[in-house]
């Protein structure tokens, strides 16, 4: 347990999300393990909650300022707007104080919560990894929400935050392997370690990351699925497998990366359309042709179903090597290799970032 705590705490630090010294990570089997000395009430929290792990995370910049500013209002709940977090989290309750009672109350209903002092609490039912995933997704979602809200309200981005955002530097892959590409995506923060997916096709076989795999640890988690579907072991493939397959069937691309670069996601959610009747259902089915930096933006829910991105992304990819999915992320494909995918995703993210910072700062 200790080993897992250390592993995921380190990941949170490397992703630039939390300060490990001020973050509490607790996990339990028959007894409680933690990275720090625990108060008595926190030790006993596992007697009252049937959970496996709990994180009380202290964000570092820019998340610190962003989250603090999101909890200034008296709202009791924050509703994420990006599609993926919305699907899995529904909403984040805001708790007034971080104590045993408020944690139990909030986390009995939701997977994570935000406190008025800017900390984020989340739990895992099955493993410490799950608590880690819930924390990092919550951070992502709050980050996106902050910028989208500001821009929609025509409020300028404070300089203090503006100064913390940096452009992404290009990176050369040595071998161009799927493992290397996965690691690069995570280290450049183009995706949270756990989300996103990646694949290539060779000789009628699609090699794709497994569902719920960490893109920076792909060594044992690539599954090979025949394009002709003659084996169902693809049941453990990424949830976007069908989209990857459909792109391979309909285009000449041989490599695909799907990431969640935050500023690209933010851009996808900025829409000036005034008379649109979709309300807050844009992510499901947007009828308008939209582009950012020449890249098509499509709607689409995760997985299958008539409104799913499996029905929108492959189509758009017939004309473009990249497609942005509303409130979710980006698919980038190439005929040559992962390097080209990576270059393109960085280019688009940097354009998105500069566009927001250049025009919308105070």
């Amino acid at each position: 347990m200790k080993r897992l705590i250390e592993k995921y705490l380190k990941k949170l630090e490397q992703q630039g999300l939390v300060n490990p010294k001020e973050t509490v990570f607790i996990a339990s089997d028959d007894r409680v393990y933690s990275n720090t000395r625990l108060s008595k009430s926190l030790v006993t929290i596992f007697d009252e909650m049937n959970i496996n792990s709990l994180i009380i995370a202290k964000p570092v910049e820019p998340y610190k300022k962003i989250i603090e500013s999101l909890v200034v209002s008296k709202d009791k709940v924050i509703i994420p707007q990006d599609c993926e977090t919305r699907t899995f989290f529904h909403d984040f309750p805001v708790i007034e104080k971080v104590n045993k009672q408020s944690i139990i109350q909030a986390l009995s209903k939701r997977k994570s919560a935000v406190s008025r002092d800017g900390r984020v609490v989340a739990y895992g039912m099955v493993s410490p990894e799950q608590a880690y995933i819930n924390i990092s997704s919550t951070f992502f979602s709050l980050f996106v929400k902050y910028f989208v809200d500001r821009i929609n309200l025509k409020e300028a981005i404070p300089k203090a935050i503006y100064n913390l955002i940096k452009e992404i530097q290009p990176l050369n892959l040595k071998e161009g392997s799927i493992f290397e590409a996965g690691k690069a995506l995570v280290s450049l923060r183009l995706v949270d370690s756990y989300f996103g997916n990646i694949s290539f096709i060779n000789d009628g076989l699609i090699h794709i990351s497994q569902t719920g795999s960490s893109l920076d640890e792909l060594e044992d988690t690539i599954v090979t699925v025949p394009l002709d579907m003659s084996s169902t072991n693809g049941i453990i493939a990424s949830s976007e497998f069908s989209t990857h397959r459909s792109v391979y069937l309909n285009t000449d691309f041989r490599y695909i990366i799907h990431g969640h670069p935050p500023f690209t996601v933010i851009q996808s959610m900025l829409c000036d359309e005034r008379d649109c009747v979709r309300g807050d259902m844009c992510y499901q089915s947007c009828k308008k042709e939209r582009y950012f930096a020449g890249i098509p933006i499509v709607s689409g829910e995760i997985g299958t179903g008539t409104n799913a991105l499996v029905n929108t992304v492959p189509n758009a990819m017939k004309q473009s090597n990249a497609v942005i999915v509303y409130g979710h992320g980006i698919f980038v494909a190439s005929k040559e290799g992962f390097q080209q995918c990576l270059d393109e995703i960085i280019r688009i993210e940097n354009t998105a970032l500069m566009d927001i910072l250049r025009t919308k700062r105070s």
Binding site: D30, N50, G303
Partner: protein
């Protein structure tokens, strides 16, 4: 009472009488419904012989049944198992539960024993115990055809009539079973051949709009789930979708668990099935997943466990033989897992080599208890193996034959099988979900680290699912968080994940207490020694080692601590009153 009918039916087959009485609100609060109801109701009679007049058999619905909730067509059958002697519940789909609830009953309890074969017909509020001698000796399909679609039916076949210890109860058109543990034999002992039920009372819902929202949240998660709606998922292929992945991971029980890899399993994989049969999807009432597949003439296509056990476990790769074996088990009312495993056990012990067709003959002999062999195999693999001094070759826990996941390739499963209150069952904690299918997150399948707590919480969760009553498959994609909202919308209660898990813990503890009363201790929470001594079928990349005995015992010890049990697996502080 929102979500409940408020009434129950108790039938005594000895006196041919029945009574209708109110549902106990405390029972609803403490045990929810379904499995929870059943284990609570049976608790004061649990030491009675499964083959006795006193032992009840209970058909229990839950608060979500017959509502617009998702996968709300399930219910539970509960009694004491003649195969394991433990308290035993079996979750079953189809439309029987819906009909029973719409007929006006939260549960149906049957006690006593008739002097001749009878059937029970429930038509709305009208209850009739009728002569069933006409149906005795008939197979399950013949009885369904008698009732056609007018009623939903629960029927036993010849195996149940002959008290085969793993006889099932077959529901509706033969797709749905209270399969495991021999509950069909409990009905057989009571000389109850069938129950037919129909009704159309609506169920009151507290907050229909909140229910709609909660269901929408669930649907979105279902669509995002590869295991459910993905291209290879349950919706498309049914449970047969597991054949290839279990094969690739080398935890495919082969030759009575001597090996863990069968090179021919692609012959009966989902892809092969799709090529051989034009299958159509169907499912339980109120289910959008529709995991059941049927071929021509409504022939049920075998589920994963049946495919693998009549396949790899018996070294047979003929899809035709598997399908026929499945059909016979449905007609005779036999649990396919126990049947296939008992035959594989017999093959290993006797050293007999027979043609795949021999499997079919044995199924026939078991159901009819033909000759000495048919008789002794009808007692289940443990009693059979014991009778020839080879107890260790019965691949079972507490006498319940193990399903199609080798524990050497899934350590959570190893612990889950061992401590399961109803014996060798994969569904109590279903660690395959995280160890193989990577949901909700992947865990290391070759490690016991953290598994005690995972198994404990998963058991509690599944006890809730079986009590709500919902389907376990949906939990590949959603969690209790979403179902708490559904339950609250239906009933007006204010449950959350933790309050539900408390009820789950109560149910699991009570089951263990009831088993303790019947003498079950840690010696029964164990696996066949083969798994600690023999290596599975390793490959270049994956080693399937024997399980380290000490690691297993340590994990089991941690589980006992979490469950509130002593080192012998006995619950230390039991709830004084069951309800």
């Amino acid at each position: 009472m929102f979500g409940y009918t408020g009434k129950n039916l108790k039938i005594d087959l000895t006196t041919k009488s029945f009574e209708i009485f109110d549902t106990d609100e405390v029972l609803c609060k403490r045990y929810l419904g379904g499995r929870g109801f059943g284990v609570s109701i049976i608790s004061d009679r649990i030491t009675k012989d499964p083959f006795s007049e006193e032992i009840p058999i209970i058909f229990a619905t839950g608060p979500l049944l017959a509502t617009p909730s998702v996968t709300s067509g399930r219910m539970s059958v509960i009694s004491r198992s003649p195969l394991t002697n433990t308290v035993f519940d079996s979750s079953v789909g189809g439309r029987f539960g819906t009909s029973l609830k719409k007929a006006g009953f939260d549960y149906l309890e049957i006690v006593g024993m008739s002097d001749k074969w009878v059937g029970i017909v429930i038509d709305g509020g009208l209850v009739r115990i009728e002569d069933g001698t006409w149906a005795s000796g008939l197979n399950t399909k013949q009885v369904f055809e008698h009732f056609k679609d007018k009623y939903s039916t629960a029927v036993i076949g010849i195996a149940g009539e002959n008290l085969v210890r793993f006889a099932s109860i077959v529901f509706d058109n033969g797709h749905y079973h209270a399969g495991r543990g021999g509950l069909g034999a409990v009905m057989g002992y009571k000389r109850l051949k069938y129950i037919a039920v129909r009704g159309d009372n609506p169920i009151q819902i507290h907050h229909p709009d909140s229910l709609k929202t909660a269901v929408k949240d669930v649907m979105r998660l279902l669509r995002a789930s590869p295991a459910i709606y993905g291209e290879f998922g349950l919706h498309r292929y049914g449970t047969a979708c597991l054949v290839d992945v279990i094969h690739a991971k080398r935890l495919e029980p082969t030759e009575n668990f001597k090996k863990t890899f069968f090179e021919h399993s692609s012959r009966y994989s989902a892809y092969a099935i799709n090529h051989n049969y034009k299958s159509i999807s169907s499912g339980c009432n109120g289910c959008p997943i529709l995991c059941k597949k049927t071929g021509k003439d409504e022939m049920p296509i075998p589920e994963y466990e049946t495919l693998s056990h009549f396949g790899a476990l018996n070294c047979n790769y003929s899809l035709e033989i598997i399908t026929e074996a499945n059909r016979l088990c449905n007609l005779y009312g036999l649990d396919t897992i126990s049947t296939a495993s008992t035959i594989a056990c017999y093959k290993e012990i006797s050293g007999q080599v027979f043609e795949p067709k021999g499997i079919l003959q044995l199924i026939h002999d078991i159901a009819h208890r033909n000759g000495n062999l048919g008789f002794i195999l009808g007692e289940g693999s443990l009693r059979y193996a014991d009778s020839v001094g080879m107890r260790h070759l019965s691949m079972s826990v507490k006498g319940l034959e193990l399903p199609a996941y080798d524990p050497r390739g899934s350590y959570g499963m190893a612990l889950g099988y061992a401590v399961s209150n109803r014996g060798g069952c994969h569904l109590r904690a279903y660690p395959i979900s995280h160890e193989i299918l990577r949901k909700p997150v992947a865990t290391d399948r070759f490690s016991f680290e953290g598994k005690a707590r995972i198994i404990k919480i998963a058991e509690d969760t599944n006890a809730i699912i079986d009590s709500l009553t919902a389907c376990k498959f949906i939990f590949f994609a959603v969690s209790l968080e979403e179902f708490a909202n559904i339950l609250n919308a239906v009933t007006g209660l204010t449950h959350n994940v933790q309050s539900l898990l408390e009820i789950g813990d109560r149910i699991c503890r009570l089951e263990r207490v009831l088993n303790n009363k019947n003498g079950f201790t840690s010696k029964d929470d164990d696996l066949p020694q083969r798994f600690f001594e023999e290596e599975g079928s390793s490959s270049k990349n994956v080693k399937i080692r024997p399980i380290n005995r000490q690691d297993f015992l340590d994990a089991r010890g941690r589980y006992y601590t979490l469950r509130g049990a002593d080192k012998q697996g006995r619950i230390i502080i039991a709830d004084e009153k069951a309800h």
